[in-house]
């Protein structure tokens, strides 16, 4: 079949060239349409259900809202895990579905279940946006060009800015294709406050209900149908809608028995004031409004971010002149930088590969033909990626080594050049074009088994990666897919385009010129080989010793899942006491930001404190997520203490630690923070989750665990998720006193809810915009414990009593949050280790905690984080890779039909591993799945070398040469293709190995393993393999002389 393809390609070259041209066009088009991102989206299929619950403490929210929702979601098919968090005023349930569940189906099922849940009156659960961990693609702020300094004016300014965001910017951004939600945090919603004077209310015997009732009766328009005149019709309406503060002040509340009219202005102050906020935003130390655009699941983040940016540019033109709209975070920058690194490494690698092909082949045309396969195979890969919906990212494109990809083409073209030279020499003249064509066909067919078979083996070793599931599957599946696609494309090209080009462009005068480099290599190799053949047993010993050393060093390597991607910027999470007020939390945040902004390396620092409007992340007001955006590294001033991002993070943390008390901080990165939150429900790289029923107990255990883990070297930041209890001012109606007055508890509860919490009693309309009218005590009175004891409670018409007469008022403590997972309460200990060897760290921590913390029955600890993905991947690969190797063994046996030869070829793999392990040690890298992929690739490449060499030995044996001649001539003849494939593989990955660009750290282990491994594999294969072949020639000879070949 392949023979026919080769013959067809050489005989129908124009057809092949036209087909290639079409491939190039389609490839370029596919690239333009390819989904591009920085990293694969590893978020699981999940539905978030957010519920606002006013007036309930976390334990009540858990009991009355969270638990019923969790309970009903449990029955949905495909649900894997349910997590929840209950805070004061909010419940969030996260339902995680099995991997293959369609998100829209999952939402549909969750929505149906929500319809049937009985929740407290007025409580309406809502589903979060259809987005993922990579969803927050764009942050922008809206600020005033001149910030008002007077508090009153500043309040109005922030209200205006918030209104602009809510009513002007957000609706327009929601029209952008691929945007599913625009979340707002910060500023103040414009609200009209009626702030009653409780003394005056008491004086006139007014209840809070009276104000609500008065507003309701006044604030409406009515329709009067129409009236007909002689020839016309007139519509009729009555206008009562309130339009401004003056209108509200004029509303009549009561007329006394003495005909005195009591208006709102007589008993209350009407003004704009601060709402009770659950979240605030700050930018560079000033309060601001931050908008976040969420990308719809499955969209292209780079494209959507660019569209959002474009839309904001057009919005900017329409904003009032005093407003400044600033882009804070644009995901497309990170994607561009990361892919810039990939692009740089790919092109540098491709350039080096071409250069070395030229230097080693010594035939310009042959080198160019081989090089041409690089861009064509890449374009073919883009077509396949588009077809299979594989996104282009650091993992998928970053793993491509053009050296490995062109191995097949290198082997084919090298043999063509070699054979043309032989035929030319034999003929003693320039070969005709027809003769060239025939030589190309013959030599391509001759070598196709070795080239094709070898590449097939490389493909087979990658197959186990497809068996990875979960996060590891999402991370490495695209890598394996892309690599196999590229390899398969190159393989197809090596039997089609390469022979066609060779038959067209290789000259009949082709001389197998020995390039300078080859001459040196041969001169060095010949005596080495001859010496090795003299001491074959010693060589065998060296081979075994290197394998043993490799195994030993490998066992000493630490392990991590994958290296942490450097996102360019970093995030700081500040955690403050649970009972801190929003005002003080914002003050500390502003101070912290100003300190961070003093660093000249920092471009912007912005933060979200507490929960946003759409509570995708229901943080308490004591937590601030800060994003530190950095200037271009080239613009950093020369500072001996700050040479890189790591230094900067350390210095920032140290300065904050020294200057700002009352908070702890955890350092992370923007995307990493969200991934951790969405995958594990915690915001750290490693978490120890303590499960149990009694919150007090699990909080105590979490602190104990935190103390123990904090003592381990390299623990970095260790923090119990729980901040204990918050104080609560609690009113409990005195039922006896109320009974004596003949009223229920309702008036008491209403007074609390209205006077302290605030009650929306109507709206003021401005065009389509509407602003609430809220009745609530003034901030000054709400703060005063004495005042809140005197709240008037209406017990009958015109008669009130102070609330302290009908309710007990106490300070009690409540948990600040209740987290649950799989129907059980849990508290997590958050750990961001400083060490890279996470696996060893977690093992040590587990051991220590198991020794020191004795949990009662029903309580247990689960460890979570990326190390779980490492364990799961290692478990699967530990079974599947040996299986793949067994398949390769079987394939080799089927091809060579000699067990001794199969083992000999197979021995090339461990000889390659030693180099990989040593290079990881030299570079100070632990084992990771990225490195594992490198080892997998190495197995394939080294076996390919063995196949090439042994096939040639067999051919020479078949030609009747003696064993001594076979190994000497064979090794010397195959030195060039083996060196060519080795050097192209090495130089293809070399730029990646030493790259310092954004995202390079993820690619480095793979490149390091392949480069180091190929070095050792090439040296050992060229020396050990011929020696062993000769040493065990008796075991191999019987079959060899029977004339088998690969």
């Amino acid at each position: 079949m392949i023979n026919k393809v080769i013959e067809f390609s050489v005989n129908n070259r124009m057809f092949v060239f036209m087909a290639t041209l079409l491939l190039i066009i389609f490839g370029a088009k596919s690239f333009q349409e390819l989904s591009i991102d920085a990293v694969p989206d590893i978020t699981n299929t999940q539905v978030q259900i957010n519920t606002q619950v006013k007036g309930l403490v976390p334990e009540e929210v858990e009991r009355m809202v969270t638990f019923p929702i969790e309970y009903s979601m449990n029955g949905i098919p495909g649900v894997e895990t349910i997590r929840s968090i209950s805070r004061y005023g909010i419940s969030q349930v996260t339902v995680i579905f099995k991997e293959d569940t369609d998100i829209f189906r999952a939402r549909q099922l969750a929505s149906e279940k929500l319809q049937n849940i009985e929740l407290p009156e007025g409580v309406v659960p809502e589903m979060g946006p259809i987005s993922t961990g990579l969803g927050e693609i764009f942050h922008y702020s809206i600020e005033a060009k001149n910030v008002e300094t007077e508090p009153e004016k500043r309040l109005l300014q922030l209200m205006e800015l918030r209104s602009l965001q809510d009513w002007f910017i957000k609706p327009r951004l929601l029209t952008v294709k691929g945007v599913t939600e625009v979340n707002t945090i910060g500023g103040y919603e414009k609200q009209f406050f009626i702030q009653p004077d409780i003394h005056k209310m008491t004086k006139y015997g007014l209840h809070f209900d009276d104000i609500e009732s008065a507003i309701e009766k006044t604030n409406l328009n009515v329709g009067g149908g129409y009236i007909q005149q002689t020839g016309e019709q007139l519509l009729v309406r009555g206008v009562g809608l309130l339009q401004n503060i003056k209108d509200i002040e004029s509303v009549v509340v009561k007329r006394t028995s003495s005909y005195q009219v009591i208006k709102i202005k007589d008993i209350a102050n009407v003004k704009y004031d601060k709402q009770i906020r659950t979240g605030a935003a700050t930018v560079n130390g000033e309060e601001s409004i931050i908008g976040t655009a969420f990308m719809l699941l499955g969209e292209n983040s780079r494209a959507v971010a660019q569209r959002v940016s474009g839309k904001l540019d057009s919005i900017k033109k329409d904003l009032p002149s005093w407003v400044k709209l600033k882009v804070l975070y644009d995901r497309s920058n990170m994607v561009d930088s990361t892919l810039g690194t990939v692009e740089h490494n790919l092109f540098m690698g491709a350039g080096l590969v071409i250069l070395f092909l030229l230097l080693l082949v010594g035939n310009f045309r042959a080198a160019i033909i081989t090089s041409i396969t690089i861009p064509i195979s890449l374009l073919m890969t883009f077509i396949l990626m588009k077809w299979q919906n594989v996104s282009g990212n650091l993992m998928s494109l970053g793993a491509l080594d053009f050296g490995i990809i062109v191995d097949g083409a290198v082997i084919v073209i090298e043999n063509c050049v070699h054979r043309l030279q032989q035929r030319g020499k034999l003929a003693g003249r320039e070969l005709t074009r027809e003769e060239v064509k025939q030589v190309v066909i013959d030599s391509a067919i001759e070598i196709r088994s070795a080239a094709g078979f070898g590449e097939l083996i490389v493909i087979v070793v990658f197959v186990p990666l497809f068996a990875l599931t979960g996060v590891e599957g999402k991370m490495f599946g695209p890598m394996a897919t892309t690599f196999i696609m590229a390899l398969a494309s190159a393989l197809v090209l090596s039997f089609t385009v390469v022979p066609a080009l060779a038959a067209t462009f290789l000259s009949g005068k082709t001389r197998d010129k020995k390039p300078f480099l080859m001459n040196i290599a041969e001169k060095a190799f010949r005596p080495t080989l001859e010496s090795a053949l003299r001491v074959k047993k010693l060589v065998l010993g060296i081979g075994i010793a290197s394998i043993v050393a490799g195994v030993f060093l490998f066992s000493r390597l630490g392990a991590e899942f994958i290296p942490q991607l450097d996102e360019g910027d970093f995030a700081l999470q500040f955690i403050r006491p649970a009972n801190i007020s929003m005002e003080n939390s914002v003050k500390l945040q502003r101070i912290s930001e100003k300190i961070v902004a003093e660093f000249p390396q920092v471009k912007d620092v912005f933060a979200r404190t507490g929960a946003a409007e759409v509570a995708t992340d229901p943080m308490g007001v004591n937590i601030s997520d800060s994003y530190v955006m950095l200037n271009n590294f080239d613009d950093w001033p020369d500072d001996p203490n700050i040479k890189n991002k790591k230094d900067l993070m350390r210095e920032v943390k140290n300065k904050l630690d020294l200057h700002v008390p009352g908070q702890v901080m955890m350092v992370s990165q923007p995307v990493e923070l969200r991934f951790n939150e969405l995958l594990e429900g915690t915001r750290a790289d490693v978490s120890a989750k303590i499960f149990g029923d009694d919150l007090d107990k699990i909080i105590a255990y979490s602190k104990e665990v935190a103390e123990i883990v904090g003592e381990i070297e390299g623990a970095g930041e260790v923090e119990s998720e729980s901040k204990g209890k918050s104080p609560l001012l609690q009113y409990t109606p005195k039922m006896q006193a109320l009974a004596e007055l003949g009223v229920t508890a309702r008036p008491v509860l209403d007074a609390i809810s209205t006077a302290i919490g605030g009650r929306e009693v109507g709206h003021v309309y401005d065009g389509v915009r509407k602003f609430p009218i809220v009745t609530r005590l003034s901030e000054k009175e709400r703060k005063d414990v004495m005042t809140v004891r005197k709240l008037p409670v209406g017990i009958s018409e015109g008669y009130t009593v102070p609330i302290e007469q009908v309710a007990d008022i106490d300070f009690v403590e409540t948990f600040s949050a209740v987290s649950r997972e799989n129907s059980q309460r849990r508290i997590a200990v958050l750990i961001n280790p400083e060490v890279r060897d996470i696996e060893s760290f977690v093992n040590k921590a587990k051991k220590l905690v198991d020794e020191k913390v004795k949990l009662p029955e029903g309580y247990y600890i689960e460890w979570g984080g990326s190390f779980k993905n490492l364990q799961s991947a290692k478990e699967r690969l530990g079974v599947l890779v040996p299986m793949a190797l067994l398949i390769i063994l079987a394939m080799l046996y089927a091809a060579f039909k000699n067990f001794a030869q199969v083992v000999l070829i197979f021995a090339c793999a461990p000889m390659a591993l030693i180099g990989g392990v040593v290079s990881l040690n030299i570079m100070g890298m632990p084992f990771s799945i990225s490195a594992g992929v490198g080892f997998i690739a190495l197995c394939g490449i080294s076996i390919l070398n063995g196949v090439v060499l042994v096939t040639y030995f067999n051919r020479l044996i078949k030609d009747g040469k003696s064993p001594e001649e076979v190994v000497k001539e064979g090794a010397m003849t195959r030195l060039r293709p083996v060196l060519m494939t080795a050097l192209t593989d090495i130089f293809g990955f070399l730029p990646m190995m030493f790259s310092t660009g954004l995202g390079a750290e993820v690619q480095k282990p793979l490149a390091t393993v392949v480069v180091g491994g190929i070095l050792s594999a090439t040296a050992l294969t060229l020396i050990v393999l011929p020696s062993l072949y000769k040493l065990f020639i008796k075991q191999m000879q019987p079959n060899l002389f029977k004339g088998d070949s690969a």
């Binding site: 000493r556 140290n654 630690d657 702890v664 204990g724 209890k725 793999a909």
Partner: protein, 199 residues
């Protein structure tokens, strides 16, 4: 036979890592004893160290030598699994009797201002009074330590209060500006219910 050994070694290599990774990793265990020593030096015992500095007044904080030497954040001891208290941190020391001590940088950051009082009864501005649940009080600054002292309001004045504070004596200083964030710091450093670690 030799070839079989080669094969077995190779296949064993891939699964070897998981077996050994839980074992000894002395190769990566750089200087653990040094680290422990370091923690012991700068850890729980910080109270004693700073007593020696003798912070009798606000100016005394300028003598906090060594804070600037802090390089990598390891010096500070993390109380309760993460609390930032110790050398190189904003809260330098916490003592149940004396209160808590702040770094000079933190004092500057919080914009704390002090006034010297001439006895246990004195006038204060409204912003000096700290309200916490049912308690009212002021912050005393003595020997470098801040401490919350409950106050009895004797009289409400047009712009402040006349208070009596047991534990404030002639020559003591009280905090007259920045009490809000100082209270947060106090809660953070001393309130056991929040972080559960006793000092």
């Amino acid at each position: 036979m030799k070839n079989v050994i080669l094969f077995l070694l190779f296949t064993g290599l891939l699964s070897f890592n998981s077996v050994y990774s839980e074992g000894d990793h002395s190769g990566h265990d750089h200087g653990s004893s040094d680290h422990k020593q370091h923690k012991e030096d700068d850890g729980h015992d910080h109270g004693k160290k700073h007593d020696d500095l003798g912070h009798d007044d606000h100016k005394g904080h300028d003598d906090h030598k060594g804070h600037d030497d802090h390089k990598d954040g390891d010096d500070g001891h993390n109380h309760g699994g993460g609390k930032a208290i110790g050398k190189g941190k904003a809260i330098v020391d916490v003592n149940e009797k004396k209160g808590f001590k702040l770094s000079k940088e933190a004092i500057k950051t919080l914009k704390l201002k002090l006034n010297t009082v001439d006895g246990s009864t004195f006038k204060i501005e409204k912003k000096t009074l700290v309200a916490s649940k049912n308690k009212k009080g002021i912050y005393r600054f003595r020997a470098g330590y801040f401490k919350f002292m409950p106050a009895i309001i004797l009289k409400e004045l047009p712009k402040g209060y006349m208070v009596k504070v047991k534990g404030v004596d002639f020559g003591d200083q009280i905090v007259v500006n920045g009490v809000g964030l100082l209270r947060v710091t106090d809660v953070y450093s001393t309130d056991k219910s929040e972080y559960g670690h006793a000092h």
